[in-house]
């Protein structure tokens, strides 16, 4: 996640003219640049520790969305689109009337996010189906304990983490779609 946001520093110069929401201050932009990676890191931590400590896929998903929402507000939608989403303006399979520039950008970005929550649903359901393939009811979860590992000692791995990851991805995809569409208005 933080790897994705590194281009922002190099492209900052070119990004400035594209800011659509206009009058954000240098302070805000600097703070966001520092804070967002931390937010994303916390979100991932919440996702991973969810099984035994407060957290979980839903919270992590919402937190991630909040982080990205900050980037939206401070840098504008086009910045996110051009620099974080590898410059896709027109989507691969999303035909639109040319000339309606207003909805173009939103459509491309929602297409990306649409794919995200589809993948999430596939992950979540796939985990359940995998349990069925092993002969258990749909969505049966199991825990495996790996013992005698170096450094960690005993580690507990829950299959529920896969499901939680699905939840996380769906929430991120879904909320970002809503944010992008509403924000573009």
């Amino acid at each position: 996640m933080s790897g994705e946001s590194t281009p922002s520093t190099t492209d900052a110069e070119t990004a400035v003219p594209q800011v659509t929401d206009g009058d954000t201050t240098v302070i805000a932009r600097t703070v966001v640049r520092i804070v967002v990676p931390i937010i994303l890191l916390v979100a991932i931590a919440l996702l991973l520790q969810g099984h035994n400590q407060p957290g979980g896929g839903f919270i992590a998903g919402v937190l991630t969305t909040t982080g990205i929402a900050l980037v939206y507000i401070i840098y504008g939608l086009h910045y996110v689109e051009d620099n974080l989403l590898s410059g896709t303006i027109l989507p691969r399979s999303f035909p639109l009337d040319v000339g309606d520039t207003g909805s173009e950008s939103s459509a491309s970005i929602t297409k990306e996010f649409g794919e995200v929550f589809t993948i999430g649903l596939i992950i979540a359901a796939g985990g359940g189906v995998a349990a069925m393939a092993l002969g258990y009811p749909f969505l049966t979860q199991a825990v495996v304990f790996l013992e005698h590992l170096p450094i960690y000692g005993e580690v507990e791995i829950a299959s529920a983490l896969v499901f939680d990851l699905g939840v996380y991805v769906v929430v991120v995809g879904g909320l970002l779609t809503i944010l992008a569409v509403v924000g573009n208005e």
Binding site: L46, G50, H51, N52, Q53, P54, G55, G56, G57, F58, I59, V62, L63, T65, T66, A69, L70, I73, L96, D100, S103, S106, F113, G114, F117, T118, G120, L121, A124, A125, G128, Y136, F138, L139, T140, Q141, A142, V143, V144, F145, E147, E156, A158, A160, F163, D164, V167, V170, V171, G173, G174, L175, T177, I178, L179, V181, V182, G183, N184, E185
Partner: protein, 801 residues
Amino acid sequence: MQSPSQSVLLVVLALPFLAAAVAPLVYRLVGERVAYFGAAVAALAFGLIGTQYGAEGVVSIPWIPSLDVSLALYVDGLSLLLGFVVSGIGILIFTYSGGYMHDEPGKAKFYTTLLVFMGAMLGVAFAADLLALFVFWELTSVSSFILIGHYQDDPDSQYAARKAMIITVAGGLFLLIAFLLLHTVSADVMGTATFRLAGEGSMIENAGAMREGLRSAGLFVPVLGLLAVGAAAKSAQVPLHIWLPNAMEAPTPVSAFLHSATMVKAGVYLIGRFRPLLGSAEWELLFAGLGLLTMTVGAMLAIKADDIKELLAYSTASHLGLIVAGFGIQYKYGAETGAFHILNHALFKAALFLVAGIVAHEAGSRLLSELGGLWRDLPITAAVAVVAALGMAGLPPFNGFYSKELLFEATFHAAEHAGGLWWLLPVVAVFGSIFTFLYSIKFLSLFFGDRPDALEHVHSPPLPMLAPPVILATLAGVIGLGGIGGTLGIHFWPLEAFINRILESVGASEPHFGYYLPTSLTPAAGMSAITVGVGAVAYPYYDRLAAVVDRLASIKPLSPNWYYDGIMNWLDRTGVVAERLHTGRIRTYASWLLVGVAALTIGGYVAAGVVLPALSSITLAAPIIIVLGVAVVAALAVTIAPSHVAGVLTLSILGFMVAIFYILANAPDLALTQLVIETLVLVLFLLVLNKLPAFYGDLKRRQIVTDTIISGVVGVTVFLTVLVSTAATPGKPIYTYFLERGGVPTEHGQWLLEWGGGSNIVNVILVDFRAFDTMGEISVVAMAALSIITMIAMRQRGETQ
């Protein structure tokens, strides 16, 4: 009899729906050849139903066990009949559509809906549970609505679709009430309340006791009446027949399939199905009367029609009346009439509709006055029409003759036994049949007589359009030949054995069905002779008769359409619907919804005699009181916030206070969620704020008062609900189950399956114990995102894709 195979029946039922789901995709791949995909699906369903021919009985798949609702499927003669008719005619209709729909718009939608309809209709045929039956029943109405309104932009289509929807769905609601009453009564009769209609431990198995129970509860006649309304609405019985002629706005394959062969048969199927349960003197009076009335009125209206599809529509209502009358009469010939005529009518009427489609398609007109002498251009079609129309007229030896003969015999027998006014039955039956004869011959005038000069060159129909009516007419002809064989002592035993099975399911004991041409002058044969004789004499005066009927039908108070349009216009004029209910404003819908929910909730509390817990038993720690106090102040402040930004910010004070409350209540997960959600909502609000108007205009005093009352009522309801629901202390709270199983046991192996294996019980519940719920919730999130995309991002794209 072996018992039916559960898997085969499930496949039969699921197949059309699955096919409907992929139909748009198939359409993209193969274009209009998707018609043959539909035909293949129907053929497969037909074949699978065929494997169950020797079976009888019920298979049950639990659906809502706690409410004793299951998807029970029942196989017997009657359900097999409907199943065969639906899937068999389905094959032909899909094939025919492949030719007919060539130049029509909206093919993907058309075939998808047609497949859904076929699935729903098969559901009606095989459902053994009243609730499942109801669901499939209404599903057929909905798919019919979509198919009638196929030409969405045509006002006539819109009117027709709406009319069919209102009448058939409203009829379905009457049915629902009847089903619920039966369910209630079954509790007294059989000990446990059941929705099971047929099979083991069902209402029909205990028919005698059920009738007693209904009578002692004083519900027999009401249930009978409610069922009759439901069935009459679906099967176009007078005075609810008015939607059927309008329904002819649909493409012709739809008219042939839904509005003659199958969907309108659902009503008579229901009557046949309930016949063993509710058969009685009242039953006979109601359905014999209703059926004969419809038969006569329908036949009379048919002769005034100039449009051939309209003629066939009225004729359909008339023949459905014949079937209803047959099922109404308790004598054994009554059941035979109904059972046999369902089959006969499906064959000849579907063929005639397809013929009408060919004529309209190839000659460019559907008006009797503009057409004639077509046999030179369409010789095969003409042959089909002759076989089918003479069957419809009831001329020997064509198939319709035998079932009409049975009706005559049944009515005569009923009159002979009861005497008095019952003699009206055979008289009316003959009277109606004369008109049937007249319009059937008139239909044939399409093909004979002089060819009008104005008629341009008529093409021959393509093979996919020609083959289905030929097959139908051949089958109808074979049934007719079977009668000739029967006269000579060579019985067409497969058909007779099948009809016997149908008779068993409609309540005839030891059926012994056989059909043949009359060899001596029985009363029924005499009645047939009168029908044909008077019909032949009256035919030259056809136009004058039509004018008389037209004049009668234009007397407004006699026409049900006048009442229907009157009510609809009244609703429009007074604005009951448009100004009170469907204003198109969210605030209206929200008020109705909220008030409704609050009223139902409070009504439920009052009905259940819920007592409020003593408030003194609630104790709160000081920090919580402070936090909640701040929340209340914030809530009040929101209402007087001077600007949107101030309002949103004040609202988030409330949200954060709730988060702190969660922390104080030892719920860190909830608090975390509340915090991030609150933040995100704040962000979203700020994004849209500058789009909102700053000033909404002055509020009316009345508006303020109603809104205050509504919000007050809703607030009080929620408050009461929280009080009441938290006051209950179950003996063993449900969380103990999760707490006992959520964590990691002290002794455990490498793999842990039975236990949650996590110390965060909230999350373990979410992803393990209740993972299925969570699955549903994330689907909702995805769904919400999708709908936002459709609503906002795609709204400018319009519907032209």
